[in-house]
Each structure stands twice: as C-alpha cells, then as structure tokens.
Amino acid sequence: MRQRRFIAMMAAAALTMLSACSLDGGSDDPGSVEQDADAPLTLLTHPTIYGALGGDEFIAEFEEATGISVDVTTADIGPHLDKLIADYQAGSGTYDLVALQNIDYMPRVTDGLLPLDDFISGAPQVWDWDDFLASTREFAAVDGTQYGVPVRLGTQVLYYRTDLLSAAGIEPPATFEEYVSAATALDTAEVNGAVQRGVPRELANDWLGFLYSAGGTILDDEGQCALDGDAGLAATDMLVALVENEALPTDFLAWGRDDYISSMQQGNAAMGVYFSPYWGLMANPEESTVADSLGYALAPVVEGVAPGTSRAQTWNLSITEASTNQEGAWEFIQRVTSVENSLRSATEFSNGPVRTSTYTEPSYVESNPVAGLWLESGEVAQVDPPIGELPEIIDIIATQVTSALDGSATSVDALTAACQQVDRVLG
C-alpha cells in the first residue's frame, strides 16, 4: 500500500509539473493610465541598440538633465517581443519605452502602443522630424499612424576581403551569378568562399534579403504568397549553388549571427552579405584580424534589379499606452534621436543613421567607409510587410529553404510547399 501511495503521489507531482506548460491567455486593457511626470522610465531594448544609442553614457546624461531615472531591460530579438507581449497579457505596464523593429509593428504589438503623431507635431523645430529619412519614417507607421521614431537603419551590403579578391583578380560581385562564381573560386581549405547564417529564422531573414535583391516580394498585389515566383527561385538556387560548390561552411545550417561575425573577424570567410550596421564589428581592429583588408560593396542583385536592392530593417523607439510617464518617455525619444546624439551614436557607436543630416555630415562620411553604400541601398531597400502572420511565414521559409539546401527537396518543390503553407496561414 505504501508503495502504491508513494508512486501515486509521485505521479501527481509529475503531472502538475506538466501543467506548467498550460497557458493562461487572459488579457486586460490597460485603459487610460494616470500620469506622473517624475515617474522612472523602463526601457526594453535589444542590447546592441542600447549600446549603439550611447548606452549608459546617454542614460546618465538624460537622468542628469531631466531628473527622471531610467531602468534598462535588454533582450535579444524574439525574447524582446516575448517580454512585451507577456507584459501586455499580464497588464502590468512594466515598460514605458520599447525598441522595436519595423516588422514588429503588427496589430498585436501596436494595440499596446501610444500613437506618436501629436507628440511629433508638437515637437520643437530643432528636433526636425523632416530630417529623418522618409523611408525610415514610413517603416514605423501603420495606416498613417506613427507608432515609432526611427533610431537605426540597417540595409544589406557585401563584405569582402580585399586582399583575397585582389590576389585572385576578382572584382566585388554585383550579381548573384558573380557572387556564386567568386565564392567558388575563393574557397580554400582555410577560407570559406562565402559565409551564411543557417539557423532557422536567421536563414529565413537572409533569404528574404536575397528575395528582394532578386526583385521579389513576400506577397503579391492580391495579398497571395509570391515566394515561389522567379525571384524566390533565383534566391534559393543561388544558395543551393553555393552549397553544391562547397563554398559555404559545412555546418552553416547551425550558424547564427555570432558565428557569422566571428568568421569574418577571424578571416575565415572571403565574403558575405550582411547587415550594414555590423561593419563596425567586422572592422573592429581589436576583434578582427583582417580589419585592414575588409572591403564593402552594394549587395549583389539579379540583373535588371536596381543595384544594392536588399532588405532594410529599422529599429524604432515606441511608447507603451500603459506608461505612467508618457511625457518623460517622449522627452527620452527626443533627446536620444536629436541631431547631435544621432551624429554621436553614428560616429562613436557605429549606429546606422536615420537622419539625412548625419549622412551628409563630413566627419561621419570620413569615419564610415560604408556610409555612401548605406544611403544608396537605403533608398532602394525593401521591407517586410508588418503583418501578424510574418513570424509564421518566416518559419515556413526557414523550413522549406532548409529542405532545398539539405537536398531533401528541389527549389521548386520547396517554394511550392512554402506557398501552400503561407496561403493556408493567410487564410
């Protein structure tokens, strides 16, 4: 009997552990929130964005100037949204300010954000909203309502080893075909011809850049899946060719952001297409063994597509509706995105500028070898549609493109399957 009772109790305990997987989807509308101009602010941000905007240095200046203290919570991409959504669900109003990507402005996120139009129209002239690049302003607006103020613009550029390309007599590739043939030619036992991220979501993110570089879009004009068009095939076939020619690291499907950057820093890759804001990391002489021989060019495209067309991504600052100090939060945004701080964050912390005045500032142009390419690609770049189904679409792309890359499906079959799944998700 004792054994029976003991085992039964163990079973009950174990089953209750499983219940931790159960979910409570309750949600409370924060409604109007009582305001306190002295209330401390809590900023939820990606660690890289925090550093790029001045980090602790800027926070100390802000606190001294305004008397408002700021707590900072950092989270990686993905977990940052998890935290925000969980906070919405709990109705606890933990965060006043949140750093969001342009693709984050989907209904379930904007539902808890404060429209900024009134703040922007009432902002002093010196802050100069018109100085922000038009494209970046649009990326943080939904149906004409501005939910974020851009703080960082990233596009994709080609990073390459000038010494290796010049030794091989190869020009920086401008088209997909040139990219594949250059990577194949440059691949050796010590150095990979090209580098590529392969962990599911990161692969899908990079693939979307190639899709845009091939002139494609995720959805067509009717809102149906367009991934299986010519552009999708060109993007997938280009990656398949790199795999077949053994120009990528053998285990690249396990590679993420850090693997990519360290590979470039350690001189283990001849080239790669990646986000422009990372040039500072790639070329950091303290971390890179090849900083002196790093070159930059516009991302390769399919012939006929505007040179440098790629995927843009912006980071923006938004204020939550649940904030108890919305004026203080707006003050924070104005100061961090001021003309002066924008220039400082670009020159001192390698941030991707969002203001025209920064791009045209001689001291910045002199210090950033990518500045011109950045602006050029920013003007023609595409962004993902801010639709709620985007995360599912990205996961579908990841699975199906992986199946093409590991040889378990052809490019055509993989993309056809992707579109079937995407259209089902879109209903």
Binding site: Q3, R4, F6, I7, A8, M10, A11, A14, L15, T16, M17, L18, S19, A20, C21, S22, L23, D24, G25, G26, G78, L81, D82, I85, A86, R108, G198, V199, P200, R201, P249, T250, D251, F252, L253, A254, W255, G256, G388, E389, P391, E392, D395, A398, T399, T402, S403, D406, Q421
Partner: protein, 302 residues
C-alpha cells in the same frame, strides 16, 4: 389522525453510511485546505484554462485549432521528434544509470559518496549552460568531439548542421545532463533493498544473474517506475536544450513540442493552437504516467 413527529437530527441516529462519510474526512486535511486551494488556483486552473482556450476561437466553441494543429506538418514533426527523443534518451539514461548505480552500489561507502557527488555535477548545470557547452563541443571545426573522432581516424561529423546528427546531438547532450537523476533514484532503490532477501537467495544457491533478474530487478521496479515517470515528464517538456543547441533546426528537425508551444504562443500570438499543443502534452504525460503506474501496481499486487 395520529401524527408522528420526526426525530431531531442526531448524529447517533444518522444513517450509518452518512456517518462513515463524515468520519472519512480526516482532521489533518483541514489545515491543508489553504494549500490545496492555492494549488488548485495555480496549477489546476491554468490547466482548465488551457483546455478552454484550445476549444474556443473568437469566443465560440470550436475544434478548428485542433484540426489546424493536428494537420500541421510542423506539429507532426515536433511530435515525432519529441516521442523518439523521449524514448531514445530514457532508454540510454536507464541503461547508463543502472550500470553506474550497480557499480557504485558495490563500492565502499566513502568512495560511493565521492563518486556519486562527482557524477551528479552535470545535473546541477542549467540546461541553457549545458546547451552552450555542448554547442562548443559539437562544433564542426573546433569542437572537441570531432577532434577526438579525428584522433581515431573517424571523419568529422556535421553534428549541428545536418538533421540526423543534430537529433543525436540533442540526445547525447540530454543523456549527459540527465543520467545522474536516474542514477541517484536507482542508487537509492538499491540501498533500500532488503539484504536478508538477497542473502537468502545466495544461500539457496542463486547465481549473480539469477539474483539480478529475479530478485534485484523486481525489487527495483518502483524506483525504475519513478525514474521513468519523471524523466518522461521532463523530456516531454523539453525546451531549453534544443533551443540553445540547434535552435530547433536544421529546418525544424529538432523542434520539440515544448518549443512549439512557445512558437505558437509568443511568435504567432495564437493562444488556441498553443493551448492545443499544451493539452496534447498533458494527455501524453497522463497516458504514459498511468501506464507506468499500472505496470508497477500489477507487479506489486502480484
């Protein structure tokens, strides 16, 4: 007309069955009631909530979330991965745990304590840290595993960048981390084994193999059942290790159901589908738990 007044309620005159029922509420239960209510609120209520969420779409009762999830290739792959992973890891952990416990059980007390403490170390490491350690060890180019394989002339394995090796990478790292748990339970079971029974078997001329098969193993059955039960629950809830080690990839080849719950709920903001996966996990856990319990009870009763 004569009327008969009903007797006043009196405990002595209550029907016997009712009295027995009253007596069945043990007095020690009363002080536990607040705790039980708390448990009901914190554990049972979310379970009920998950069930309700899984069958409600836009405020209407519907099984569409079940149809959507059960027909989804990603869910099917995650279910397959979770079940095969659970079976593979538990089989290996039981084998290794049993072997290690048998060895330790035969050692002197001081040595046994020292070795047991040392062998417990992997279990004390957080799954996230374990994932990072194994990620480095399994790295294709600089990992110590491939380096070791190279020493004995075996070609480097693409552990994390190819579906089949990635599965075994997750199994290997989980077995390394969790075997100590099985070991400690089996060791406790062996320590509690009545020595007189073992002595009697030896006096009766039973061989070592016979003692193991007919005495030790049946006596260890409850401990094995407890280890199986807990490990099954832990494996079904798997999340951190593949999240860190493979990111659920390549593709979605190492995505367990636990990761899928997170994906549905946080990435897709779909409470209904996330709840469906939670319910599937709960049902799986319950079915397996009851199967284990029946197995042990049958033996105990026999």
């Amino acid at each position: 007309m004569m009327t008969v007044e009903a007797p006043a309620p009196d405990r002595l005159h209550e029907p016997p069955t009712q009295r027995r029922r009253m007596r069945r509420i043990p007095p020690w239960l009363l002080p536990l009631l607040p705790v039980l209510l708390l448990i009901a609120g914190l554990l049972i209520w979310p379970m009920v909530q998950a069930l309700v969420e899984s069958v409600s779409v836009d405020g209407q009762w519907s099984t569409s979330a079940y149809e959507q999830v059960l027909g989804d290739a990603v869910f099917q792959q995650a279910l397959r991965y979770t079940l095969v992973f659970t079976a593979a890891t538990i089989a290996l952990e039981l084998l290794l745990g049993f072997g290690a416990a048998s060895l330790l059980d035969g050692m002197r007390a001081r040595t046994r304590k020292l070795l047991t403490a040392a062998l417990m170390l992997p279990y004390l490491i957080a799954p996230v840290a374990a994932g990072l350690i194994w990620r480095l060890m399994l790295d294709y180019s600089i990992g110590t595993i491939n380096w070791g394989l190279g020493l004995v002339g075996i070609e480097a394995v693409n552990w994390l960048g190819s579906a089949s090796p990635a599965f075994w990478a997750t199994v290997l790292s989980e077995v390394w981390r969790s075997t100590p748990f099985v070991l400690i339970i089996l060791l406790a079971g062996m320590a509690a084994m009545p020595t007189d029974v073992l002595e009697a078997a030896r006096v009766d001329g039973a061989s070592r193999a016979q003692v193991f098969a007919f005495i030790k193993l049946p006596l260890l059955r409850p401990a094995i059942a407890v280890a199986l039960l807990f490990q099954t629950i832990f494996k079904l809830r798997l999340f951190e290790l593949p999240f860190i080690l493979t990111g659920g990839g390549p593709g979605n080849s190492t995505t367990p159901l636990g990761l899928l719950v997170h994906q549905y709920y946080f990435r897709y903001a779909n409470t209904a589908t996330a709840s469906v996966v939670s319910v599937v996990l709960l049902v799986l856990g319950a079915v397996i738990a009851f199967a284990y319990i029946r197995w042990v009870y049958r033996e105990v009763d026999a």
